[in-house]
Symmetry: C2
DNA sequence: CACGAACCGTACCGTACGGTACGTATATGG
DNA sequence: CCATATACGTACCGTACGGTACGGTTCGTG
């Protein structure tokens, strides 16, 4: 396992601590609770410092996204040989991780924030969130899918298409429902298993299909 | 074709016109642009009337959702006999309609609004949006899927599970990306076709699979 | 015509936010 | 010991919003 190297802390430790407090505030009370005065009070810093460090409120929001993205690191698979069983397991683990990330407090809060602003700031935050937050997980999935293809376990023409199919099967409308505040959507395990079964049925080669339960 | 009977206009025509203006304002400028004064000005009505009709700002937002939901009516299939080809076509049409609805200006604006508020109002708007906005499309899809099963074209144990699979295949992460403001996601036709192909491959009986192109 | 209800336009109030300015404390470096 | 920089805390300003009050106007009804 090798961890991705992140640019070492875009911000100073003090600033990171402030951003942490800001995220906590956002998670607890939503965007409305995220006032510059509130952040300063919660983080024991001055508003003047906030504006010096982050420019303005939007800069603070961007910094929060960048900071959170820098915290979430995803591990690359090592190059061990894939079998039908281990591919299945890896994809299931990926699916669960994906659902877990999307269901996280901070992730939901930041997505809500970016979505709420997306039609008045030209979707600056949204772009940031997609680029910094999703690239990691996208790369991990693509690497996994590609490895499956090289091992003769998966078959597809367009890897991106296959990945988006997997994503849709795993997430369905869960993300939007969670963003809308629907409670009780935590049964990720079964959902992940079903999604992976369907994905392998669609893209698996005979080697994989042979080990799957028959359609009853 | 029979149109669903909607409770005839929860609001007066004048109020509907006001809500229409409010929606326009929301679409154009986001939540921040949706001020009570702005709505009153745009709709040529008084703030006092707004508060008399809708109680407070939240009541106005709820009314906007209810009004929009009352506008979107979906048609029920008539009971003609389904064949493999017509099932395919109907599902494709459904998929396209679904993407078209989700990509609509007003739909996106209302979803953004509800999501933005969902962690400070106990997700009242979110619940409303899911209940009033989604039930129609859900029912249409369930009816279609059920008809497919009765015609011996589809096979599944849990219709809800099958529907969510279809939804995920069709929408993938498109909805969230659109909510985040990502531009250029309008190639719905191909996306719908691919999704339906995958869905039928997963849930179609031999009658359906026989008419599908082989996996190359 | 007279009366009342509904409604419009505007002015107003309290509040809370984003952003700025200032006085003070702490720390670093010569 | 002084000088400079950094940051804290507080007070302040302008603005804009949600919500209310009020006078004037339209319109339906007896």
């Amino acid at each position: 396992m090798s961890v991705d190297t992140a640019e070492p802390s875009e911000f100073s430790p003090r600033q990171n601590a402030v951003l942490e407090q800001a995220l906590q505030l956002l998670v607890d009370g939503g965007e409305k609770a995220l006032t510059t005065s509130g952040v300063a009070r919660a983080a024991n810093c001055s508003k003047e410092s906030l504006y010096k460090w982050f420019g303005d409120r939007d800069g603070l929001l961007s910094a929060m996204i960048a900071y959170q993205a820098s915290k979430v690191r995803t591990f690359e698979r090592n190059g061990e040989r894939l079998t039908a069983a281990s591919l299945h397991d890896h994809v299931v683990i990926f699916a669960r991780d994906l659902l877990e990330v999307l269901a996280g407090d901070v992730s939901l809060a930041l997505n809500r924030l970016a979505i709420g602003q997306s039609n008045r700031d030209g979707s600056k935050l949204g772009k940031l969130l997609l680029e910094r937050g999703r690239r990691q997980i996208d790369r991990r999935a693509m690497a996994l899918i590609d490895a499956g293809k090289r091992a003769g376990l998966l078959r597809f023409a367009d890897a991106d298409e296959a990945y988006h199919t997997l994503y849709g099967l795993v997430v369905s409308d869960l993300h939007v429902r969670m963003l809308l505040g629907e409670p009780g959507l935590k049964d990720t395990a079964r959902q992940a298993e079903r999604a992976v079964t369907a994905f392998l049925r669609l893209y698996g080669t005979d080697k994989v299909l042979a080990e799957m339960p028959v359609l009853s």
